[in-house]
Point group: D2
Chain length 353, copies 4
């Protein structure tokens, strides 16, 4: 770290900083400039609290130099992480395409939607069984019943499933059904949940907090990684800004930035990132063009009947068209969209078709 | 709610909206303007999802009219809520002054700080035993040991104590020691925690989320209130903006706005709201002048030795001066700062003074 | 507009609103709901100031229904505007690719850069002669000398030129040299400048203000359009948010939103939108994938020698690669990147090559 | 400045930075840490562009150390600036209280409002003759006619006048009538206007840009100061944030921050800072409690008839009450509200009372 002294700092104040740093086992390296002194600190930054130093007399500000995250950092782990989920790769040369309804609304409805998503080109099925809702009076999800339907939809389609978990106590239950645990934007800094998800050993998709910097997002990932679980994928889902024309502002810059700073895969959520179905396609394509490792898209056969977030759900046919377009863009960023297998016989059994 | 149709909406599209609304048991009231039709919807808004309507053909946008919160709303509960905690009133004519260290650092340290706070004019003692930290490598609090010290400090000083709880599973433990449960900014939408705090029946201080609108904040309060716990106080602690000169931007407007929209008491946290001790006094005074029901301030006898957030902690003598200044300002907003009793004999026993 | 009354509004207060609206020649349409009354106002909204109504007794809020801009609105002008500049089309099936140095630094330097840009695939040359700088001590541009070099570079390459104008008094001078006037982000609401640019009758590229909503941006365009100048193109260049990892946050959502709300072409500026050259390519590709009509990119042969903004400038070879990638993406959005002609003999004359 | 190298930077890359810096006449001071090298640069920072250095190979980031503004900085000018305007002091022990209508609406109306403001306790009269309006279709002010009425109101009341100037070409005209030139939030970085206002030699009130950092605001002040005009006062008028409950977010933190960083007086504008008259009083009081040197408040005898911004205007009687409250708060911050003289005979003449 670099300690910037005030122009009016006294010799004694400078000396006090230097002893404090040295007591902590670090080396100091003062630079006496024309206006002021600046003190370089060499050594293990974790032994000194920069806020404490910042509080000492004569100090103007303290500039951290090392990144506060290690396990999530590409600097220390140059190789990109690739996560394997039931044969689907996330973070490798194939784009990961996740789709499904916002909420699980019923058994038949989910399985039909899952099949439609698969036919359109999805590899992973999303669907909410536990729903975080701003109002206590809104529909809160089907709970374990929803998880069971998700498991059935997996069986029917072969697609691994991702679903949200909202409290540490429910991690074991959700982990019993899901292939990927999703941690939502409101819970990005719910540390008990991050620790529980880390301990589960399961793949985790960590949504960026509504107003989290990329550094805070990577530090939240670090909570999971520090539990010796390195199957973490990041998900950009829009940030909160002054802009009022869309529900959130999808931070397209975050994609190349996160890819540069971290080795973790990054998935784009254009549905929450925009909040209106008309903009989902353009922003999904943009995310792939910017280098995202995949997308997670809300798809609903009848969006105007959806129990939640219908405003931002695509119809399956629109989604299918989008997958074809992403396939073209993928070439430019050295990615593929893997071909989907033929629908299995089992589907017909399940669906009675 | 008001459904605004596109200028190009067809008669059929308008008719479809109207049947959908009527099916839900609401009345429709179309207004055919020069450019477009607007449909007023009368009835219990909770039976219709405005996002579903917004998704229907021909709809440009849907404007909600009723506030989504009821229990937190002053419109439905015009009387200001007053919370009683061991003889201290919050939300009544007296200002509530809460002070103490960011983290509980040890028994003696805490009791000394508590006494200093009381002597300076505080009525409630704050102190963190479980600390939410952005980095998994930072000090996470003393845990239950910290709670025990808080209880001892209460015994020594007579001051009720407030401390943070971070996960639903720990609510019973924290409730055993604390007088007021604090829910932090990162957990404002941790619904399991809100529900658990609500069920505890204890007074809860709910910090505003870093990027929460006032509506979202009141909806979070609504989660607690909907558990039949009406002892909720709001805490403005600064929001996240583009501004980089302070850690957060204290939203002074939020104080009169929240007082107008809600009957719940509102407490200001100028320590987190600014992040630098030099600005704590000015912003604390500002909050009182704007109508806050009290303040919560970080006080530490040696801020440059604090285990967390020393940068924003006041020394007891500065805090004492601030209390005197708030006393003058209180007159202008029809408030009092209650006199503190003389230090009890017990203090001398406890402290060996 | 819709006037939402308070639940406690009296009959007299409601009657007062209604007479006020009728006096202004509009029709009223009251809806008496369960909790409150809502008054629909039909007629020419410009004759009533909604802020005045909002101030009247018993009013909770006023919701505007009509868009405040007309000439910029797609609702009233469904056809996309196509602007022709010396044979280059902006807003039509071809993508418009603008490139060049941030500042004009000298005659030879500019012409060399222009040729490199053209060879890489640019159709329009950008370059700043008058530079808006945050500090009065920074380089402020070569002024008219810079304009002359731009004109020479146009002659050498055949590319039309775009350059910024910063004050109304300089519009005639800049218009003498430039093909497109650029209005910068800091001047988006410099109304005297907007009016002067409008009156010039020249094509104008209007950058979005750093914290302008899309509505405010279109209203700024409306100032130019209201001078009977319909050659306006919008430019998204990043907005200001809490995010600190990039200089600005490129608002990718703004592209489909602005295309939907307005018939004006929209150009993306990924150089300012990110502030770091590494991110320019990803965000440029993203913008095309999201439906932008073109890009404006800072290109400099030796970015680490640039007199301004070198941090965000691409080298010509990187830019050439980017153009090839945009060509592939263009297919997905039904666009072309037009082929560049062979370098003319004239270049060799000019450059002495 | 401090140049932070990447962990992977080579010796050659480090050497290249060092020669570049030395060529510019500065001294280098490398610190070789465990992970990376950091290079301290000593000397006149203006001779090196940090963005150029940031672009060189092997550089991770460049941290500026010196403040980019000098004339506006308290570090270099510890004494607070006091501005004298016709006997009224701004920035000294007396609070400066400015009030008046948003727009000048007519001669009699203005003079009556001015007298009401003076009787309530104002010392300076505000009123807009040239109005910056988001829409080209809104009322744009009475222009020079409005300036004449302001001058008459000054004659009638003895109060100096402040009014906005929006373009460099109009500075001479406005300066002929006004005592203080106001530069609005949209023009904070209109450099031609800043220069013209600086050259006029008149006192200037510089509103903070809607999304300007405090550093950018002080740099804008620096443009005026660099024209040898040191009569600059800053005005905090609310910033743009995600918050939607008020028109802007008044940045109360900015008051102590700006007072610490700069010697210039700072005036609070609670009318624009909140956008609703109910919140103007609380935020005005807060600003004084936080250390502002004064306030500028919109006052209108019949706010619901105001031609602009009636929603945020106080009635004179509310304003009078507010002045009395500010008087009490002033004691706490070592300020006075000066007594107003008795109304002069001249008023009766002017008003025919």
């Amino acid at each position: 770290m670099i300690v910037v002294m005030k122009t009016a700092a006294t010799k004694n104040e400078i000396a006090a900083i230097m002893s404090r740093v040295e007591e902590a086992g670090c080396k100091v390296h003062p630079i006496h400039g024309e206006d002021r002194t600046v003190i370089g600190v060499i050594g293990d930054g974790t032994s000194i609290d920069r806020y404490q130093i910042g509080r000492m007399r004569g100090v103007e500000t303290v500039v951290p130099i090392s990144k506060p995250y290690k396990s999530a950092s590409r600097e220390f782990h140059p190789e990109s992480t690739v996560i394997q989920v039931r044969g689907v790769q996330i973070g490798g040369p194939d784009l990961a395409i996740m789709a499904g309804p916002c909420s699980v609304e019923g058994r038949t409805h989910l399985i039909e939607t899952a099949i439609a998503c698969k036919e359109a080109g999805a590899q992973i099925l999303r669907g909410g069984a536990f729903k975080p809702r701003t109002s206590p009076y809104s529909f809160q999800g089907l709970g374990e019943e929803g998880l069971r339907y998700l498991a059935e939809a997996r069986e029917a389609t072969g697609m691994p499933i991702i679903t949200e978990v909202m409290e540490p106590g429910l991690v074991p239950l959700v982990a019993q059904y899901a292939d990927i645990l999703q941690i939502g934007t409101r819970n990005m800094q719910n540390y008990a949940l991050l620790n529980a998800a880390g301990k589960s050993g399961m793949p985790v998709l960590l949504k960026r907090g509504m107003s989290a910097t990329i550094e805070e997002w990577l530090l939240a990932a670090e909570y999971i990684l520090s539990q010796h679980n390195n199957q973490v994928m990041l998900c950009e889902r829009g940030i909160r800004t002054f802009s009022k024309e869309t529900r959130n502002t999808f931070d397209i810059n975050a994609i190349p930035v996160a890819k540069q700073l971290s080795h973790l895969p990054i998935i784009a959520d254009p549905s929450h990132g925009t909040g209106k179905w008309e903009y989902v396609g353009p922003v999904a394509k943009a995310a792939i063009a910017a280098g995202a490792d995949g997308v997670i898209v809300e798809v609903h056969p009848q969006p105007d009947q959806a129990w939640s977030d219908g405003r931002q759900s695509l119809k399956p046919e629109k989604f299918a068209e989008l997958v074809q377009q992403m396939k073209v863009i993928a070439q430019v960023v050295d990615r593929n969209v893997p071909e989907q297998p033929e629908p299995s016989d089992m589907w017909q059994v399940v669906m009675g078709r």
